[in-house]
Amino acid sequence: MFVRNDLLFLGLGILVPVCASMLVFLFVDAPPLRATELFFEGAFGSSQRMGDTLMIWVPLLLASSALIITFSAGMWNIGIEGQIIAGAVAASFVAREFEASTPVVLTAMIVAGLIGGMIWGGLAGLLRVRGGVNEIFGGLGLNFVATGLVVYLIMGPWSRRGIASTGGTEPFRPQAWFPTLDGLRVSPLSVLLAIGVLILVLWFLSRTSYGLRLRATGKNPLAASRFGIRTDAYLLLSFLLAGGVAGLAGVTQAAAVYHRLVPSISGGYGFLAILIVLLAGFRGQWILPIALFFAAVSMASFQWQLQLGLHSSLGGVIQGILVLSVLLLSGYRAISYMRKPISEEGDA
C-alpha cells in the first residue's frame, strides 16, 4: 500500500504544478497549448536553441553541485551567489592581466575562479564555525559584499576609459573566451566542465571517506564526533569545496557567456539552484534533469515574451509553483505516513 501511496503522490506532484501553470497561462490570457508548444520549440527547437538552453544549464549544474556539498553538511549556503561572483572576479582578473595562448589563459582562469570561490565560501564557513554567525546571515552579507566588490572594480580600477558605468568591463581578449563550435553560442568546454564537476562531486560525497564523514557531520554532528570526526573542520571543508565549485560557475558566466565582468554576473543562478536541489530532495542524480528543465523554462520564458508578448517573469512564477507544490506535497506525505502506527519496537 505504501507503493500505491508513492505513486499517488508522484502523480499529484506532476499534476498539481501543471494545472497551476495552466491556470497562470489563462490568467495572463495566453493560449496554454501554444505556450506549451513554444516551451519545447523555445528550449529545444533548433541546435542553436538547445545550445542556449545548455548555456543556462551549465551554471545551474555547477551551482547545484556546490549546494549538495553544503547541504550534505547540513548547511544553508545562501552565500552561493557571492561565491559565484568571487569566482567570476578572480577569472576576470586573470583574463585582464595575463596575455597567453587560449589553453593557458583558460586553465589559469579556471584555477583562479576555483580559488576565488573557495575564499568566499571559506569566509562564510569561518564565520559560522569560528564567529558563531549563522551561515544564512553570514552568506547573505557576503553576497552583498561580493556585489559591492564587483561594482567597485567595474566603476573604479577596471572601468572603461572615460566611462563610469555599472554596465560592465571591456570585453575580454578573445583568448580568454571559452571556445565554441561555430553556429553555437554554448561552449562544449563549459558543458563538459559542468557535467564533469557534478560527477566528481557525487563521487566525492558517495564514494570517498571524506564525503562520508562530511555527510555524517551533516546528519548528526554529535554522533559523528563520537566516530572521531572533527566536525568543525568538515563544516569548513564543505564551504571551501562548495565555494570552489560555485566559483567555476562564475568562470563560465564570465568567460563563456558575457565575455566580460558585469555586476549581475551570477544571474541569480545560485538562488535558483537552491530550488533545484530542494526539488531534487538533495539527491544528486536528479539534478541533471531538473536543472535542464529549469533551464528550458528560462529559455521558454524568453520565447513567450518574444512570440506571445508575455511578461518575462512568467517562467520564474512557474518554477516557483512547481517547487512549492512539490515541497508541500512531500510534507503532507511525510505526516500522513507518521499517522500510521509505528512499527514494532524492541525485539524478543
Binding site: 517573469s313 516557483g320 517547487v323
Partner: protein
C-alpha cells in the same frame, strides 16, 4: 547633519522598520519566515494596485497586509502542520512571490497613484530640529515608531508577551503550563507577516510612490539581517534600521570625495553588522556582557532557543 537629512533617514527607513519588527515578532514565537524579500515585493505591488484601482490608500494598506499575511500563513502551515523546514519553504516563497509580483504587477508599473499624505503634528513640529526631523512626517512613519515601542512594551511588560517568549524559548515547557503553543505560533507568524506587508505598502504608497518590477529587491533580506543584528529586540531592530538609512545617505554625501567607493558604500551596513555579531560572540565580550545584566542581554541578543524548529505535543 541637517534636520532635513535626519527626516529623510527616518522616512526612508520606515518600511524596513515595519518589516524588521514584524519578523522579530514572528521569530520570537520560534518561527523563521524567510520569505520577506518576496512577500514585501508582492505586498508592495498588491497594495499599490488596490489603492490605484480603489483610489483609497487605506484599502491599499489593508490589501498589502493581507497579502503578506497570507504568505506568512503558508510558512506557518508548512512549518507547523507539515513540519517542513521553515527555511526551505521561506526561500521558495521568496522566489515565487518576487516573480509573481513582477508578473501580476505589469499593469501598474510607474502609474501615478494615490499616496500617503504628510501630516505634521501641530505643536510638536515647532520644536527646533526634532520638530522638522520627526514630526513633519506622514502617519505611517509615526505608526512605525509607535509600533516599535508598543511591541517593546508588549514583549517585555505584558503577560501575553511573556507567553510569547515562552513558546519561542521552550515550547514543551510552555505547553506544560497550558499554553497552546502552535495556535499562538500561527497567530504571531501571521501578525508578523501583516506587518511585513505594511512595510511593503510603505514603499509603494509612500517611500517609492508607485510600483515597478523589483524596485525594492533586497530590502527583505536587509530586514532579516537586521532582525538578527537587532538580537530579536524591537527597539534594537528599529535602531538597526535607522543606522542602515544613515549609512545609505552618507554614501551619497561621500560620492564627490571618493567617487569609486560611492557605489559601494550603500552595502557597508552588511560587513558592519557581521563584524558586530562576531564581536558580540567573542568569549571575552560575553564575559563582559554577562555581567552587565539587562543591558548586557540587550547587547548580547539571543535567538529564541526553539527558533526554526517545529513543536508537537505527543
Amino acid at each position: 547633519m541637517e534636520a532635513a537629512t535626519v527626516a529623510i533617514i527616518i522616512a526612508s527607513s520606515t518600511p524596513l522598520v515595519f518589516a524588521a519588527l514584524g519578523e522579530t515578532l514572528t521569530e520570537k514565537s520560534g518561527v523563521v519566515n524567510l520569505s520577506l524579500d518576496g512577500s514585501m515585493l508582492l505586498s508592495a505591488m498588491t497594495g499599490f494596485a488596490s489603492a490605484y484601482l480603489s483610489g483609497s490608500v487605506e484599502i491599499g494598506l489593508c490589501v498589502a497586509m493581507f497579502t503578506s499575511a497570507t504568505v506568512a500563513s503558508v510558512v506557518a502551515f508548512a512549518g507547523i502542520k507539515l513540519r517542513l523546514n521553515q527555511i526551505a519553504v521561506g526561500l521558495v516563497l521568496t522566489y515565487f512571490a518576487t516573480k509573481a509580483s513582477a508578473l501580476f504587477g505589469g499593469d501598474f508599473v510607474r502609474k501615478p497613484g494615490p499616496s500617503i499624505q504628510k501630516m505634521s503634528i501641530p505643536g510638536l513640529e515647532e520644536i527646533p530640529f526634532v520638530g522638522e526631523a520627526v514630526f513633519q512626517q506622514n502617519p505611517l512613519v509615526y505608526l512605525s515608531i509607535v509600533l516599535g515601542f508598543v511591541l517593546f512594551v508588549f514583549m517585555f511588560k505584558t503577560r501575553r508577551g511573556l507567553d510569547l517568549h515562552a513558546i519561542g524559548d521552550r515550547p514543551e515547557a510552555a505547553f506544560s503550563r497550558g499554553i497552546n503553543v502552535n495556535l499562538q505560533r500561527y497567530v504571531y507568524t501571521i501578525l508578523g507577516g501583516a506587518l511585513v506587508g505594511l512595510g511593503g505598502a510603505a514603499f509603494s504608497l509612500d517611500a517609492k510612490m508607485g510600483w515597478s518590477d523589483g524596485h525594492i529587491a533586497n530590502y527583505g533580506w536587509i530586514a532579516l539581517a537586521i532582525v538578527i543584528f537587532g538580537g530579536w529586540h524591537p527597539l534594537r531592530a528599529m535602531f538597526g534600521c535607522y543606522l542602515f538609512g544613515l549609512i545609505q545617505v552618507s554614501a551619497l554625501e561621500l560620492q564627490p570625495v571618493l567617487p569609486d567607493l560611492a557605489q559601494v558604500l550603500p552595502i557597508a551596513p552588511f560587513p558592519l553588522m557581521i563584524v558586530a555579531l562576531v564581536f558580540i560572540n567573542l568569549r571575552v565580550v560575553h564575559s563582559v556582557t554577562d555581567r552587565l545584566g539587562s543591558i548586557g542581554s540587550l547587547i548580547r541578543g539571543r535567538a529564541p532557543s526553539g527558533l526554526g524548529e517545529s513543536f508537537w505535543p505527543d
